[in-house]
Every structure is written in C-alpha cells, then in structure tokens.
C-alpha cells in the first residue's frame, strides 16, 4: 500500500520535471549569474558588500526599504481584512462582483494607476482642492513626493494581494463555529479574537508575506510618488545598473535583499507552520 502510494507520488513528481528545467534554465541560472557578479566585478572579493554595508547612505536606503515594506504590509492588512470579511458576508453573487472589481483594478496598467494617484494627491489635486473648498484646511497638505505618497499608492496596489488569500480563507470558515461560540456565551469581542482571528491566521500570514516581499522590490510607484529622500533599494539598483553600469554594486544590493528576504522567510516558517500558499483553515 505504502509502496504504491509513494511510487504514484513519485510518478506525479516526474511531471514536474519540465517546469523545473524551465525554471532552472530561465530563472535559477541567470539569477546565480547575476549574484556572482557581486563577487567578481570589478575584481574578485567582497568589496561590493563591504562598500554597501560600510556606507551609511546605502544602509539608510536599505532601512528605508524595510520601513516602507513594513508600513505597507500593516496598512494593507488593516484595510484588507474588513474588505475580505465584507466580501465573504455579501449575499451570493454580490461578493463575486466585488471581488471582480478588485481583480479589475489589478488588471489596469500600474503606471496609469500610479499617475492617477498623482493627480488626486498633488497640492493642486482633487483632494486638496475639495478639502480647501469645504474649508477643512487653509493650505494644501503635501501628500505626494514623500513617504505618505509612497505608502498610499503602494497600499492601494497591494490590498488585493491581502484580500484574495484572506477571502479564500474566510469563506472556508464554518459559520457554525462562530455561532457555537456565541451560544456558549462568548461576547462578540471574544468570538472575534479567540475564534475568528485564529481561523483567519493562514490567510493573514500568506497575504502579509506576499505583500511584504513584493513591496521590498517595488520600483515604479515609489519612483513616481516618492521623494528622493526616501529612496528605496530597487531605485538605487536601477541607478547603479542604468546610469553607472556598476553591476557589481547593484548585484550586491540585490543579493543582500534576497538574503534578508530568505532569512525573514525562515522566521516566518518558524512562526507559521502551515504552508504559506495553502488556504486551509489550519484546523
């Protein structure tokens, strides 16, 4: 019995060979080649990493990157959670429509969406003009070309990536469980924190992980909505690759980002033992 099962599994595994080969040739090998440059350009050694970590500017760029990714993740979760719950609770059909709207926003060009935020947020933009017309503010608020702009723009783009796994997770929760808790006398707060939230954990974690990792490598939105004083690592890498052809330093930055991400992923797996991509409720 065991033999046949494992053999079956193995045979299914062989079906993966084409895609593994594809990934190896078109992803792993080029990636390794790129990362090797960090050690070989301009000469063999760790000088690129040394330069990165010894220069306070570069360290600041790195910490900016993590700060923005953290803020965006937290905000996307806070806004995405009620949205996902809302979609789950909607009567049949309506929830799917709402999900459709969210998906539609993901299919629209990223550049167009980012520019739209610029139009809305700038000092002569729609939001500032409206607020001033109503008399809430006297002077326009600076909401773009700084950290605020980056956070608003990126959170907006990232929310679907929280909502999708979270909604899948929530819809799998048996409402009877929540009902049972209430019947047993738990107040709404307790039901939420002790029953509902733990059941949503896998969705929350996978959404957060996805958003965090994607935010670390985000380029267009910070470049357009941010100010240079909050430069993030991707922009620094583009500058080194494009303008100065300094691929050694750029590769070292990329390698550093990948290593830090892997370390964090390791800790994530320690905390969250379920598969980060599965949507089962962990029950």
């Amino acid at each position: 019995m065991y033999m046949t099962l494992s053999r079956k599994k193995w045979r299914e595994g062989t079906l993966l060979i084409p895609i593994l080969l594809f990934l190896c040739v078109f992803f792993l090998i080029p990636l390794a080649g790129l990362l090797l440059r960090s050690l070989t350009e301009p000469s063999f050694g760790l000088q690129n990493f040394e330069q990165l970590l010894a220069t306070s500017t570069y360290v600041q760029v790195l910490s900016n990157t993590f700060l923005v990714a953290t803020l965006v993740t937290v905000i996307s979760l806070v806004l995405g959670f009620p949205l996902a719950w809302c979609i789950t609770l909607m009567p049949n059909g309506w929830g799917r429509w709402l999900l459709g709207v969210i998906l539609l926003s993901m299919w629209t060009s990223l550049l167009a969406r980012t520019y739209s935020w610029l139009v809305l947020l700038q000092t002569s933009g729609v939001i500032n003009k409206t607020l001033m017309a109503i008399g809430i503010i006297d002077e326009p608020i600076t909401m773009v070309h700084n950290l605020t702009g980056v956070i608003i723009g990126m959170s907006y783009i990232m929310i679907p990536f929280v909502v999708l796994p979270l909604q899948a997770c929530m819809s799998a929760i048996d409402p009877m469980v929540l009902q049972a808790a209430s019947i047993c006398g738990a107040p709404a707060r307790t039901v939420f924190f002790r029953i509902f939230l733990p059941l949503c954990k896998p969705g929350l974690f996978s959404g957060a992980l996805m958003v965090f990792v994607m935010s670390l490598g985000y380029y267009v939105t910070p470049a357009l909505l941010g100010g240079v004083e909050n430069m993030m690592l991707p922009e620094f890498i583009v500058q080194q690759i494009q303008t100065f052809l300094n691929w050694g330093l750029a590769s070292a930055s990329a390698a550093l980002l990948i290593i830090l991400t892997i370390v964090m992923f390791y800790f994530y797996l320690k905390v969250q033992t379920d598969s980060p991509v599965s949507t089962n409720t962990g029950a």
Binding site: T55, T57, S124, V228, Q239, T243, F244
Partner: protein, 339 residues
C-alpha cells in the same frame, strides 16, 4: 505520400524565397527613447534614409543602458544604432562597449566639435532652461539665481533627479561661480547652495513628469528640457522660459560593439547628422541641430525656441568630466539627498 512531398517542396520553396528576400533588403535596428522624439527621428531620418538607400530601418526601444551592456557582453547584439545621453556615450566608450565611428563615411567637417567623439556623434542638442508657470510667478525670473530666490518667486522647484550633468552646475552658477571655473566641480559648495531650497525641491525623472509638474502648478519654477517647454507652450499653457545661463546637453548616437549591421549603421549616421537630416529633425522637435549647416535651413518662427539662438547665454557642460567622475559624484549626491 505524394501530397506530403509536394507540400514539403512548397514549404521549402517559400522558405528560400523568404530568405533571399531578407538577404536582398539590408536593415538596421534603430533604438531611441520612444514618444514624440523617436517619432520625429523616424520621420526626419529613417523614412528618407530608406527611400534613398533601400536600407530598412526597424524602430526599437526604449534605450536601456543595462540592456546595451548585456547585449555587448553576451555577444548577441540586436541593436545597431542607439540614442544615448552624452555622458553615457563617453562612459560606455571607456568601458569598451562601442564601435569606433568610421569618419570616411560620416562627414564630421560641419559638426559642432562639442558633439562628436571617436565613438559617438550628436543626435541633437538641447538645453536645461529655467522655466516657470506664469500663473504662479509674477515678474520675469532670469538666470539660475532666481531658482534659489524663494522669497521673490515663491513656490516649489522642479529639478532633474538623476545624478547627471546639470543640477550641480546650476547651483554653482547661482552661487556666483563663473563659467570658466565650474570644473572640477566643488560638490560641497553646490550641496550647500542646494540645501537652501532642499525642502522646496520636487525631483522629476522623466519629461512627461516634468511637464505635468509645471503645467499643474505643483511647482512654480524649475530646471527643464527646452523641447518639453516648447511642447507646453504649443499647447497654450502659460509657461515662461529664461535662456540666461542655459545648460547645453546633448544626445549621442552610438553603435554598440559587435552590432550586426555596422556598415548600414554608419550610413544611417551619415544621413542623420547631415544638414538636411538635422534640420528636418529640428523642425519637428525644437531640439537644436548639431550640424552647423542646418541653422540656415530652419524656419524663423522656430528659431526663437531653439538653444542655437541663445548661443551667447549658453554654458557648456563638461560631459567628459562626468563620464569619469560620475560614480563618485553620485555617491556624494545620494549621501546629500538622504541626509
């Protein structure tokens, strides 16, 4: 069986025909920045060039320095002619990424010597000018010192984001450094001057963004490419331009090392830098011709918008200095930005 043989023969014949046809027609890949600039390059250079020589010009883009380097390193060079910024042209030449130009085919006798080197020749030249939104600024600011005078001319300032020739020089000029003493650049002095308006600066990374900033009134004044300001004025937006101390920049056309159609590319450069080619391109864009013979061929109305007309106010940037010291300047630049 018979059917298969016939079908095979037809396919083989069709393939041969395709190949011979491809052979008969020479072609070059031309790469530029896209948008209205590349459209104009196509109209002014590619179309008449194909008509004259029969060499097909395939448009590609946008220019990507990283891609160029990767192509040359891998030995599989898809691009034959690339429009690049001048400081990059010098840097790439130093790194051995470019083919030397053949001046027996390209005539450089009438080319302004500022815009030709062994490895690249001007595509066009333009100026960084001081421009302002007339709805936001009263009076007529002139020269880079006005940019730093936020009391007389209130509002945000737009400056070019990348550490390339321009911002450092204009800060030094505004601080009273004379044109002849600009190089070597006194970075500390420039940053100190820029510190006085640092909180008012909004950085732009591309032409469309710069136009959006000024037209919307998000900034009242800034450092812009003259061609982009010409386009705004054409659209009826109240934009004023001061040509005093305009900073001359240029784009170069280069041939990546190992380009497959090198000979055709040289012929293309000969045409694009000819008096006619340069004049036609200028008419479409208000970017200045690098061929001195072209000036007389351009309509008078347009001349008012072209750097050529303001030659006495020009400050030429030292591209070679930037090609050499660019990475070091960028390091201090980033340090200053993040401070």
């Amino acid at each position: 069986m018979m059917m298969n043989t016939i079908r095979g023969a037809i396919i083989a014949a069709a393939c041969c025909a395709g190949v011979t046809q491809g052979y008969a027609q020479e072609s070059v890949n031309f790469v530029s920045w896209g948008g209205s600039t590349q459209d104009a390059q196509k109209e002014a250079w590619a179309t008449p060039f194909t008509g004259k020589t029969g060499i097909k010009v395939i448009q590609d883009g946008p220019t990507d320095y990283g891609k160029l380097k990767a192509m040359v390193e891998s030995g599989n060079v898809q691009w034959d002619i690339v429009d690049v910024e001048v400081d990059f042209a010098y840097r790439a030449a130093k790194e051995g990424l470019l083919e030397p130009l053949d001046f027996s085919i390209i005539d450089k006798s009438n080319i302004d010597p500022r815009f030709v080197s062994d490895y690249g020749i001007g595509s066009f030249y333009f100026s960084f000018v001081l421009a302002y939104n007339m709805g936001k600024i009263s009076g007529q600011p002139a020269g880079w010192s006005a940019l730093f005078d936020t009391e007389t001319f209130p509002g945000k300032r737009a400056l070019y984001k990348w550490p390339s020739p321009g911002v450092i020089e204009l800060a030094l000029l505004a601080d009273g450094v004379s044109e002849s003493d600009l190089y070597p650049l006194d970075l500390d002095r420039a940053f100190k001057k820029l510190d006085t308006i640092k909180k008012d600066i909004i950085w732009w990374g591309g032409g469309a963004q710069s136009q959006q900033l000024l037209a919307s009134g998000e900034v009242s004044m800034g450092q812009f490419w003259n061609g982009r300001m010409f386009a705004l004025q054409e659209d009826g937006i109240p934009v004023g331009v001061s040509w005093e101390q305009n900073l001359v920049m240029s784009d170069f056309l280069v041939i990546p090392k190992g380009a497959k159609n090198k000979d055709a590319a040289m012929k293309f450069l000969a045409y694009s830098t000819s008096a006619q080619g340069q004049a036609d391109f200028a008419e479409l864009t208000a970017f200045s011709p690098i061929n001195k013979e072209s000036d007389s061929m351009i309509s008078e109305d347009l001349m008012a918008f072209m750097p050529t007309t303001y030659a006495d106010d020009q400050v030429s940037l030292d591209y070679k200095y930037w090609a050499e010291h660019g990475p070091d300047i960028a390091k201090s630049w980033n340090e200053w930005l993040l401070k």
